[in-house]
Amino acid sequence: MTQTQQKTTPMASPDDGLGPVARFLKATEIDTRLLGMAGALLLIWGGFHVYSIFVNGNAGFITPRNLWNLSVQTSSIGIMATGMVLVIITRNIDLSVGSILGFCAIIMGVVQVYVLPDYLGLGNPLIWIITAIVGMTVGAVIGAFQGWLIAYRGIPSFIVTLGGLLVWRGCAFLVVRGETISPVDSTFALLGGGPYGAVGATGSWIVGLLACAGIIWMLISGRAQRKTHNFALRPAWADVFLGCLGCGMVIGAVLVVNAYPWPKGIVDAYAKANNITVPPEGMFISHGFAIPVLILVAVGIIMTFLLTRTRFGRYVFAIGGNPEAAALAGINTRWMTLKIFSLMGLLAGLSSVVASARLNSATGALGTLDELYVIAAAVIGGTSLAGGVGTIYGAIFGALVMQSLQTGMPFIGFDAGLQQVVVGTVLVLAVYLDILYRRKAK
């Protein structure tokens, strides 16, 4: 008995009997669900591309310009979806995020347009940062209040946040009697993207190379970790493959965003402002990564670490898997719930920064129906409404899928009714496929 054990423990991988594909997936430990989502996304993009070329007769959907815009549009929903993952994992729901977003946008509009310029002067560089902090704080406080009602007063999250959906939307209109506050502070507006709100070609390369370095460092330190404890290592070729795949995707993204030039009007205005003479054939100035996209990436990384590597994240999963067991293990589940909802509110506030900056104005209607897209993004990304299961990258992927449909269908000329039908169908289908996948995985 002891002998067989020693033989199998160090490298327990009965690979025999698996096909080459299965063996490959096993060695690289790639999440097959992620692979499925990537496939679905490519299918959607490809479908739009082909349709627009053959039916509409234009240049196709997969262009740097469309992909760049898609990335910016995904940011707002994506940021909130990362928080919704935590909420749903702990068997709760937050229907109020869209309204919190709208309310935060109005508060920030008032702060940066009506309040701060009086004290700091118009265009003061402190305005944007104070505004953003105020917005996120308001979101976090609202979230904490709702979390308190849910955790300490025992009101179901569905009801509390359904109430919040109405209350905060109503407050957003009450604050300024329904008016639109525009334009916002010019520095603040950069947080929403646009030609100036992007980091340019050089900046994008720096970001890209840092990301590549990060990927390689993670793979190497992961190997080192496994080695110190004598766990089975991934085959070296699988790690090399993963490294190449990760870096390749990052570099691909950099190439795409750098291939999208500023429009001619902006180039001319920029040249004029900086005393550059534009050559007759025009100047090619790249957008590079948009700032909101970088915000989303940063949020995604932070939230992934939070969820998978910290105590807090472990408790989120434990509460979702078995709330009673979590409590018996000494976890303060109420305090956790309050914190999770507060974090969700904070992210709604951040998302509000991005959304109102992108629109260059604050209206009480901002973020209407966002809660549904956010929940859909999390669920398409594999977060189980039964609780206990979910990933951050899945939710961001889900947001990208949702947003691809949202931008792609108007692009190829589907009318509004048909768009809703498709989005609704995709949501149900995605969840159904997920259920089938889980059943099979068992």
């Binding site: 898997g321 078995n322 979590a326």
Partner: protein
Amino acid sequence: MTKRGTPLVEMRDISISFGGIKAVDHVTIDLYPGEVVGLLGHNGAGKSTLIKCLSGAYQKDAGQILINGQEVEITNPRDARAQNIETIYQTLALADNLDAASNLFLGREIIGGLGFVNDSKQEAETRKIMARLNPNFRKFSVPVSALSGGQRQSVAIARAVYFNARILIMDEPTAALGPHETQMVSELIEELKRQGLGIFLIEHDIHNVMKLCDRASVMKNGQLVGTVNVKDVTDDDILGMIILGKKPAHLAA
């Protein structure tokens, strides 16, 4: 019946009620080091409720809990753990979506340099303790929902044993197990007893009680019927206590 020194645990005059129903009614029990005390009674007799006051899951309404002669306040599971009281619940209290290591260290994670959970250290430690408790255990990287009843049980036991418990509460540890695994649990109880732990064992199987326990406290309708030395009684005496709620005549002083 004279006992050596201070008891490890004394629960004095404990009462707890839920909505007017007295689940535990002025019950006093104690536990000495290196001893197994069986808690017996029908379903609903109040055994689990009583023991949950000790493990921190419930709070007593009245009474005292003494550990090594010192009165302590146990208001939540963290307090109990701080007193080296570990509990193996009947439901096992595992988070099904987490793997064995995450469950073992739940609430007491090993934190690395950057404030992150050190998963590989946790897994290595889990492998060590499992090698001792259940050498056949291999499934370290899957959620515990994918484990068999016995394997899940060994995760729950490992969690209690790993953190150097001095007082162990086992709520029907063998209820869901096959004969082989039951044997393993029995051996473990014997071993822990030799190491000087005190064990409260909630058990329905009268044969296990006779085999494993030194004393047995019997409860009925929230009240203590009596505590007997297992050596001095027969199966039938204990069954009589459970069913009739009376101490056997030859012991009733």
